[in-house]
Amino acid sequence: MNPAFSVVLLTTASGVGYGMLAWLGVLNALRLLPSSPWFGVAAIVVALALSTVALLASTFHLGHPERAWRSISQWRTSWLSREGVMALLTYVPALGFAAAWWFAGPGTGVAAVLGLLTAACSLATVACQAMIYATLRPIRQWHHRLVLPNFLLLALFTGAVWLAAAVALDDAGAARLVAVIAVVFAVGAGVAKLAYWRQIDAAPPVATIESATGLGALGQVRMLEAPHTEENYLLREMGYAIARKHASRLRTVALATGFIAPVVLLLPGIALAALAGPVLLVLAALAAILGIYVERWLFFAEATHTVTLYYGRREAQAVARDGRA
């Protein structure tokens, strides 16, 4: 699948934004965050800005962005529609949470309730987004049971790293707990991602050129002649293929930058106080978002669609994946 910049940006930024909102709501209800009014409002605004950027990015790839409002109408069947509805709904408790933090104080019951509501809406938005991919049967790397946990864990991990950096900028000492949570979720999300990669590598194709054409009874099928000499929409959008050699290198980059580097930076960040701590936590947040951007890019680039079977891609893919093409 074509790793379009807008969609890769959308899934990366919305994960960070909604993950951060989720932790803000939960940790505030547990009274584990700094209580300064500036911190709360700034953190909520940054998180909302990230998810808003993501929403805007998602409209960049539309053929008719001015009709985007129509996309909230089909929530009964469409996960994309549900994501839109949940993303818009999240603004209500999130803005209320910010207002309650500022005017009533983070320790009040109303702030706690609105925070928890924000967290629930945020995670539901991420889950809807994951389900858009997880319900697409023609793409076996997406129609996979680990896609939903992966999306949720990545959002919680990147959200925690960014929140740790935000807390550290306000009060270095108070960031310890959030940083520990970030380390735990970095490990969890990293292990889930490794398991996902292992499983998609081992899984058999979901269909074959024989079942796609129904000609298997005659023997092995291969394409003799393509329907057109030039690349078309189908091949550009669904036929994107990445050589296995490059994919495995990028997996290493994603793992090192997105998961290992943040942990390496967070651990001394937890130990050190004063100036060094916040700097390390901010660096960890930047490393995480860069690495996860590569991981999201791979999520698209490594996904294969059954339409390519009609174009005889079985052999081509096998060759490309061995790095010989």
Partner: protein, 243 residues
């Protein structure tokens, strides 16, 4: 509405005979010709007369080799929307632009409200939908809805453009929901099948498999009746030619 309507009795669709298709691409060309000025107009082309032409086609003809060695067959394979009974392209649509008609089962796109998110083209296992980069909306086979119900056309022309033009009569149009219809009987008789049944889309369109051919006869040298002199001349000629 992107909910799938309660299936009606009528299931209009195509039956494509892979035994008689000669791979002339006339169906694809006539489809483009009709639809670029009909319900789905325009089917935009970019640099149609220069290098790298690119554009929307609703029907594509692939050519495959099935089997190996002397028993292999060349099979021409037209691919278009199968108007599935359970179309994932419809349920994923966030706007309701993609819909399945209850009255005849035809799957359509309302270009007036399509936002061009392309998710339907990801959801279709068969690559039936192509995006019109110029108009910013998704295009697909309409089963020539503007022909089959068109009162201005003579009755025999009220079939999809691809069916009307096929010189090999490899394409048949009719109601696959009616077991007594000509197309249903053809499917029953010839063992018509679904493409990629593992995707659970329940395609309405059916494909008829290439017929079994008699095993190829290997030429056998048989001794010709005739005079001994005649036979020895033939043997001599055979020796000369075999050098």
């Amino acid at each position: 509405m992107t909910s799938i309507p309660t299936p009606g009795a009528k299931k209009l669709g195509l039956v494509i005979d892979l035994d008689t298709c000669v791979g002339c691409h006339a169906c694809a060309v006539n489809c483009k010709e009709w639809n670029t000025s009909g319900h789905s107009a325009p089917l935009t082309d970019f640099s149609a007369y220069q290098d790298h032409p690119d554009g929307v086609w609703l029907n594509r003809v692939h050519t495959y080799e099935a089997g190996t060695g002397p028993d292999s067959r060349t099979v021409h394979f037209p691919r278009s929307c199968l108007h599935c009974e359970d179309p994932p392209c419809v349920t994923v649509c966030p706007t309701g632009a993609s819909y399945k008609r209850a009255e005849d089962g035809i799957v359509l796109v309302n270009a007036e409200i399509c936002i061009g998110c392309k998710l339907c083209s990801w959801a279709c296992p068969y690559g039936a939908r192509e995006f019109d980069e110029d108009q910013g909306v998704m295009r697909k086979c309409t089963l020539c809805i503007d022909r089959i119900y068109n009162q201005n056309l003579p009755e025999q022309e009220r079939v999809p453009a691809c069916v009307a033009t096929c010189p090999a009569r490899a394409r048949h149009f009719g109601d696959l929901g009616d077991p007594t219809s000509a197309v249903s009987q053809l499917v029953a008789e010839r063992g018509g099948y679904d493409l990629m049944p593992e995707m659970d889309c329940k395609p309405v369109n059916k494909y008829l498999p290439p017929r079994r051919r008699p095993a190829p006869v290997t030429p056998v040298e048989t001794a010709r009746a005739g005079s001994a002199a005649g036979a020895s001349v033939l043997r001599w000629i055979d020796r000369v030619l075999s050098r």
